[in-house]
């Protein structure tokens, strides 16, 4: 595949759905998309463009809960990061674990540490926290201080 093609392809595919495009060429691309489109976009990047899924990061910011999906095009040395912003009062997003088995654990981790609900996750159990950890307490959120 030619150097720029995957990025151009992605831009064309998403079109107006891209809410924000940030880039640090030639290696890093960050694009914000509406949360309804994450499943389709992840499927396109992973299955059709053949990117490797690295991991998801959940970031708790004052305005919204951000979920970042990092994909690597290893042969082209590019990392494309998809961002979805979830409003704090409705932290829900479609799970990508049904199409990418490698996302199974990390979504369970984000769910329990940041309180994001992944809809249609195949195995929504806890991953890291103990069984007796109180419901509704999310240790990685900003309001939780380290000494609590």
């Amino acid at each position: 595949m030619v150097q720029q093609d995957v990025i151009k392809e992605l831009k064309e595919k998403l079109g107006k759905k891209i809410l924000k495009w940030e880039e640090k060429p030639p290696k890093r691309y960050y694009l914000t998309i509406p949360r309804e489109d994450i499943l389709e976009t992840a499927n396109f990047i992973f299955k059709e463009q053949g990117a490797r899924f690295i991991i998801e990061s959940g970031v708790d910011t004052p305005r919204a809960m951000e979920i970042l999906y990092h994909f690597s095009f290893d042969e082209l040395n590019k990392i494309v990061t998809l961002k979805v912003l979830l409003p704090k009062d409705r932290c829900e997003v479609e799970s990508i674990a049904p199409i990418i088995p490698g996302a199974n654990w990390i979504e369970r981790e984000i769910a329990e540490l940041l309180g994001v609900k992944f809809l249609n996750h195949p195995d929504p159990r806890r991953l890291l926290l103990a069984e007796d950890w109180p419901e509704g307490e999310f240790p990685l959120r900003q309001e939780v201080r380290e000494n609590q």
Binding site: L68, N77, T81, L140
Partner: protein, 400 residues
């Protein structure tokens, strides 16, 4: 009648003494499903990082792992440098690669020794670990520590490699290369090892892609990914070396990848040492302020790609640090590799992805049907070794 039995292994990894908990569902000798539980040793390093400065964070992430203790600092520095757009001095690049590759050497030897131990090749274990020792001595001479070298800072490295240390380093490498060569030939030619490990725990290319496997686990399944080549950092694009891959995806292929990678590591270190004689100057760029923004850093650790994501708001502390260690994506591949194999093979397959080593060994096996019988870690090892002995006997060879 359904004779399904659940064998709990853990909460410590049976071979590598790590806090993980496996539930094997078995029918007779055959494993039909596996369930993994983790989280017994969660230290909330990502949370702690939010209250450390960028300089302190490097030393914090060094504590994530004791064996690949320089992997996380390199990935973290790469992330901070990506975020702030820092170029590190050339001499620092060579030193980073030297430390990274020495670490790969000792880590792969550690794994090879343990793998030998757990299939009952104790001689292999003893000898390999003996050959690993000089590499740790090199570390002590060069960095001051056998482990947790504390060599990396954003912008470069903390210690220079002195001109007078280079002969000692080269001599140690020559010695190590001869020994690793001997071991590799012995392993590749050994009919018992071939019978024991070939075709066992195969990870297909498709599964490796779907589970997003990295490092030797992916490379042994024919996926040629290596961050050192794909996203060059340190001095990896300045020296000549190869990415090792195998097609089979079984335990044997993973062992071959690791052993052959040792030679590539030695090759890289030699070239870097040679360059250190001519490339002089600073070993760290001055880093004043970290601007707001986000950065991604990667490093090819012995076990695969380490991924760090750092976000800054312009203060001296990160807003968020996300760490993805290679075992996090390699471990779930056991869902694809273990079912269908025998209980005696489960141990070595689980070890083949090379999770990190720490903690204490403790396994309890309870037969759910009777609730009576208890097996422990020793029994699992006994099963594994008995299988090797049987193969030796059938071949008319004496077990070593």
């Amino acid at each position: 009648m359904n004779r399904k039995t659940i064998i709990p292994i853990g909460p410590y990894h049976p071979l590598q003494e790590e806090p993980e908990f496996f539930e094997l569902e078995v029918e007779g000798e055959k494993v039909i499903d596996i369930n993994v539980h983790i989280g017994y040793n969660h230290r909330s390093i990502e949370k702690i990082a939010e209250s450390k400065t960028f300089d302190q964070m490097v030393f914090l992430v060094e504590r994530i792992c004791g064996i690949c203790s320089t992997s996380h600092p390199i990935a973290n520095c790469n992330a901070v440098e990506d975020l702030a757009g820092i170029e590190i001095p050339e001499r620092a690049r060579y030193i980073r690669s030297i430390v990274g590759e020495l670490e790969r050497l000792h880590s792969h030897l550690l794994w090879a020794g343990l793998a030998g131990h757990f299939i009952g090749y104790n001689t292999l274990w003893m000898w390999i670990w003996k050959y690993r020792e000089p590499i740790l001595e090199i570390f002590e001479a060069v960095t001051g520590n056998r482990n947790h070298y504390a060599m990396m800072i954003p912008g470069g490295v903390r210690r220079d490699i002195k001109e007078e240390d280079i002969p000692f380093l080269s001599k140690g490498l020559d010695e190590a290369e001869r020994k690793i060569d001997m071991v590799t030939k012995a392993v590749l030619d050994d009919p018992v090892l071939a019978a024991r490990l070939k075709g066992v725990g195969i990870l297909s290319r498709e599964d490796a892609i779907n589970y997003c496997a990295v490092g030797p686990t992916a490379r042994a399944s024919g996926i040629p990914i290596d961050v050192r080549r794909d996203d060059p950092y340190a001095a990896y694009d300045l020296v000549d070396w190869e990415v090792i891959t195998q097609e089979e995806g079984d335990v044997f292929a993973k062992a071959v990848v690791r052993l052959l990678e040792c030679f590539e590591s030695i090759k890289i270190i030699r070239q870097c040492l040679k360059m250190l004689r001519t490339v002089k100057g600073e070993i760290a760029a001055k880093v004043k302020e970290i601007p707001p923004g986000e950065g991604i850093g990667r490093h090819e650790a012995p076990r695969g790609e380490v991924f760090h994501y750092v976000r800054s708001d312009g203060s001296n502390m990160p807003v968020r640090l996300k760490v993805r260690a290679p075992t996090y994506v390699n471990l779930p591949t056991c869902k694809a590799t273990v079912p269908g194999e025998s209980v005696a093979d489960a141990a070595i397959i689980l070890a083949a992805i090379d999770p990190c080593y720490c903690c204490t060994e403790r396994i309890v096996t309870i037969n759910k049907r009777t609730g009576q019988r208890e097996l422990n870690g020793q029994d699992l090892l006994r099963l594994s070794r008995k299988k090797t002995e049987k193969i030796c006997k059938n071949m008319g060879r004496r077990n070593v």
